[in-house]
């Protein structure tokens, strides 16, 4: 072996190393040992195609984050705020009775119905009451995950306020006690108390929109490309269904599950640069409902429809 050339001895050591084999014998080869130590570390050398590609991905995300980073978001609001369309003020009354919602603002817009804003715990909700326009503006019932101190008590209040049970309160395997309610307009309210250390899980606020999609994996891909969503949780079951996933858009959490019949709703998306986010959404496969323009409210807003039918009001306030 002493006669064997260093190039060949080293090559055998490297073959053993990359095969995950034992190269300790190399340490007895005084000439090869220092090189073998370097070789052992080289097994951890990162693929430069990988680090370059990851850099490009992060660059896209960072650009999107800049466009999303609304610095003047209205007090109490987050990047995503649900906008629920109903014919009358019955929903607002329901939310006040059931969740102790507080109405923070109301505006009658002749010819456009009533715009109402309510605070529920740490979350805001906007309601569009279509009034006499109801026939032209069909309801868009949506689903919400609401965390409360006592799910059983709130569930009982929801029934008393005219809700229909979709599932009695029970301890769920996913770490909460929850009961499911459908209100008179068809919205779903998943009323929950976390079984963890605090009633509201750390990652969430009081109210989180819960989107339904036939193919959650594909839909998350859309939200990532369109709005820079970041996937935070995904529970996949054999066969590929995703009964639960959570993404973050800006500073707001959005939950989803499927396959389920879509419940396309409407959501305000407060961003720093409406045009950039609008273009990105269209490029990702959203349909334009109305390109960016300054609206009568004074806000620059664009309207798009995503692949599962949700409407997004991309706004800079």
């Amino acid at each position: 072996m002493a006669d064997e050339r260093l190039t060949d001895r080293l090559d055998r050591i490297i073959n053993a190393l990359v095969a995950g084999g034992d190269a300790t014998a190399a340490l007895r080869d005084a000439e090869a040992a220092p090189l073998a130590r370097v070789a052992a570390d080289l097994r951890h050398y990162p693929r430069r195609e990988f680090t370059t590609q990851l850099r490009a991905q992060l660059e896209g995300r960072a650009r999107m984050a800049t466009a999303l980073a609304a610095r003047n978001i209205r007090a109490g609001f987050t990047t995503v705020t649900p906008y629920v369309w109903v014919p009358d003020r019955g929903l607002a009354d329901f939310l006040v009775r059931v969740f102790d919602a507080v109405e923070t603002s109301v505006a009658d817009n002749p010819g456009h119905g009533t715009h109402r804003e309510l605070r529920i715990g740490s979350s805001m909700l906007m309601i569009g009451e279509t009034g006499e326009l109801a026939a032209r503006a069909p309801m868009r019932p949506v689903a919400f995950h609401v965390f409360v101190e006592d799910a059983d008590a709130v569930f009982a209040r929801a029934l008393a306020a005219g809700g229909t049970s979709l599932g009695e309160p029970a301890d769920r395997s996913y770490g909460e006690r929850s009961g499911y309610i459908r209100d008179q307009y068809g919205d779903h309210w998943y009323i929950a108390t976390s079984l963890g250390p605090s009633a509201v899980p750390e990652a969430l606020r009081t109210v989180t929109p819960f989107l339904h999609a036939q193919n959650v994996g594909e839909y998350i891909g859309f939200l990532q490309r369109a709005f820079g969503a970041v996937e935070e949780a995904r529970h996949e079951i054999p066969g590929g269904a995703v009964p639960y996933a959570r993404v973050r858009i800006g500073d707001a959490a959005v939950e989803m599950g499927g396959p389920a019949d879509p419940m396309p709703g409407a959501y305000f998306l407060y961003v720093a640069d409406v045009d950039v986010v609008y273009e990105q959404a269209i490029a990702a496969g959203a349909k334009s409902l109305s390109p960016p323009a300054v609206r009568p409210s004074g806000d620059r807003i664009a309207f798009v429809e995503d692949p599962v039918g949700n409407h997004w009001y991309i706004a800079r306030s």
């Binding site: 260093l6 190039t7 060949d8 080293l10 090559d11 490297i14 073959n15 990359v18 220092p34 090189l35 370097v38 070789a39 570390d41 080289l42 097994r43 951890h44 050398y45 990162p46 693929r47 430069r48 990988f50 680090t51 990851l54 850099r55 991905q57 992060l58 660059e59 995300r61 960072a62 650009r63 984050a65 800049t66 980073a69 970041v230 973050r248």
Partner: protein, 165 residues
């Protein structure tokens, strides 16, 4: 730099350039193979970008913050793989490991600066796990010449490390 990145996410790339090899070296040591090491490294920087606004300087170095995210990402990975499911996340590097990691980061940068053919040999042998015969065919050289290049590359790296450490 961190404050600049918090104010302007586009500046995050400077932090990425500075730390990606360090995080990869930490993860790679524990991930078992290349594919999970890359997945986990991606997850670490995706999360770091998301959580950057919550980073608070309080004397904690940025690298330590990244290692903490990486430790949790490794634990998540193991949970998904259903092994070690009850084990706590791995430790963030102690002083000894930090020294080793810095050595590796220096080594990786030396590889990037090797003469091109030597760098290609290292890339094909260690990253792509290709045989000498394969590398020889790809570079249109004899096997003996490739072994020679391999030796030369390792000697250069060792010399470079000597100067570093």
């Amino acid at each position: 730099m961190i404050e600049a990145a918090q104010a302007d996410p586009a500046r995050f790339l400077e932090l990425y350039d500075r730390h990606v090899d360090r995080v990869y070296a930490y993860v790679s040591r524990r991930a078992g193979s290349r594919a999970p090491a890359e997945d986990i490294t991606s997850a670490v920087f995706e999360q770091a970008l998301t959580k950057l606004p919550t980073f608070e300087w309080r004397g904690v170095p940025f690298a330590a913050w990244l290692f903490r995210i990486a430790a949790n990402a490794l634990a998540d990975h193991w949970r998904r793989e259903e092994r070690n499911s009850h084990e706590p996340p791995p430790d963030v590097p102690d002083e000894r490991e930090q020294y080793d990691l810095e050595q590796r980061v220096s080594l990786f940068r030396l590889v990037d600066r090797l003469p091109e053919t030597q760098r290609q040999v290292i890339q094909m042998r260690f990253v792509e796990d290709r045989s000498i015969r394969d590398v020889a065919a790809a570079l249109d050289r004899s096997e003996g010449a490739v072994k020679q290049l391999q030796l030369r590359a390792l000697e250069n790296l060792r010399k470079g490390m000597g100067h570093h450490g």
